[in-house]
């Protein structure tokens, strides 16, 4: 470790900066091949994500895997068309609402167990409402998990891709105190 640090210091002429300023970062380059490929592939990837999410009850898969695959669609679009324009369409509030709705679905199924005469998250209680009730409630829970995972991963991708805003609180320290 120590010799690597010394090496880095020597090569960067003792600048000591870890993050690269925005102007020196590799810019977004428009590529016809990547844009066309992504435009063709993206619907299929989203369909695969939805399939893995919904079909977890009958084959390999489930909410966690399907959510990640669905979020890959946004990642691909970000690489093809630039992260900033995509992030401008999907704002953080929308992502937070999406994630909240996923957690809400899970909790709704959980508390619904009391209404159908069972315990918390007792999915077999839904069997009394309609045929295959427990299977459909399990799939609904999987969709909720998938929505949470895809929302969080999309948000993480946008935050890492567009950069962290650290200048605001440095210039206006007073605004933090006001609610």
């Amino acid at each position: 470790m120590s010799e690597r640090d010394a090496d880095a210091d020597a090569s960067t002429d003792g600048a000591g900066t870890l993050t690269r300023p925005a102007a020196e970062r590799p810019p977004y380059v428009e590529s016809t091949i990547i844009m066309t490929t992504v435009r063709v592939i993206a619907p299929f990837v989203l369909t695969l994500g939805a399939f893995v999410m919904l079909h977890g009850a009958s084959s390999a898969g489930g909410g966690f895997q399907g959510g990640v695959i669905a979020a890959t669609t946004v990642v691909m679009l970000g690489f093809a068309f630039g992260i900033e324009p995509i992030a401008a369409h999907l704002r953080n509030e929308h992502l937070a609402l999406l994630v909240l709705s996923g957690v809400g679905t899970f909790l709704l199924i959980g508390f619904g167990g009391y209404l159908v005469g069972g315990n918390f998250l007792q999915v077999s209680g839904y069997e009394s409402l309609f045929h295959h009730g427990s299977k459909y409630s399990i799939e609904l829970v999987e969709v909720g998990i998938g929505v949470v995972v895809s929302g969080v991963i999309t948000g993480l991708f946008f935050l890492l891709g567009t950069g962290v805003e650290t200048t605001r609180d440095a210039s206006e320290p007073e605004t933090e105190e006001e609610p």
Partner: protein
């Protein structure tokens, strides 16, 4: 399970990509080698008949983690002075010691796929395998256990992901949520 040729090839590929990820000086090349290693693990899970785990490893380990690593590296300065990392004697000895210590526990494990392993012959596993479809109506036992029998644990996992996402928005972006 005797070592079949495809499994041996995957293990060899994993070993090579793991070494490349550790030794390569170029960080981007190291990340790509790491993604290859994750993909090898996913293929190995598929060979060992754990498709749920294989799917997770391929999507999360080989896919999204690589993207996040690359995004992070794009924001830092990368030095490309030499091709390989210099390995000191001390770190080499530490690696050998860890490999020997962990490898010494391997003979204590039951062989892969043996019928008498506790995880397969245990009462709980047999109960799940026998009753999952009748009690939950789900043919994939993994999903039946995750949501049907162990739903509370899964709710905890989702809560962790949710909390991590909200904390990320709050800390990195200083979201107000008004």
């Amino acid at each position: 399970m005797s070592l079949s040729l495809p499994v041996a090839a995957v293990l060899l590929f994993m070993l090579g990509s793991a070494l490349a990820a550790a030794v390569l000086r170029d960080v981007v090349g190291s990340i790509v080698a790491f993604a290859g290693y994750s993909f090898g693990v996913a293929v190995l899970w598929a060979f060992l008949r754990a498709p749920d785990v294989a799917l997770t490893e391929a999507a999360v380990g080989a896919g999204i983690t690589t993207v996040l690593f690359l995004l992070t590296i794009a924001r830092t300065t990368v030095s490309r002075s030499e091709r390989f990392e210099g390995i000191s004697l001390r770190s080499g000895l530490a690696v050998v010691a860890i490999v020997v210590t962990v490898g010494a526990t391997v003979p204590a494990l039951p062989p892969v796929g043996a019928a008498g392993t506790p995880i397969l012959a245990g009462d709980v596993s047999q109960y799940y395998l026998g009753n999952a479809y009748d009690q939950t109506g789900v043919t994939n036992v993994v999903t039946a256990v995750l949501v049907g029998y162990r739903g509370f644990d899964t709710l905890g996992e989702v809560a962790v992901v949710f909390a991590a996402g909200i904390a990320m928005l709050l800390v990195l972006r200083r979201e107000a949520f008004v």
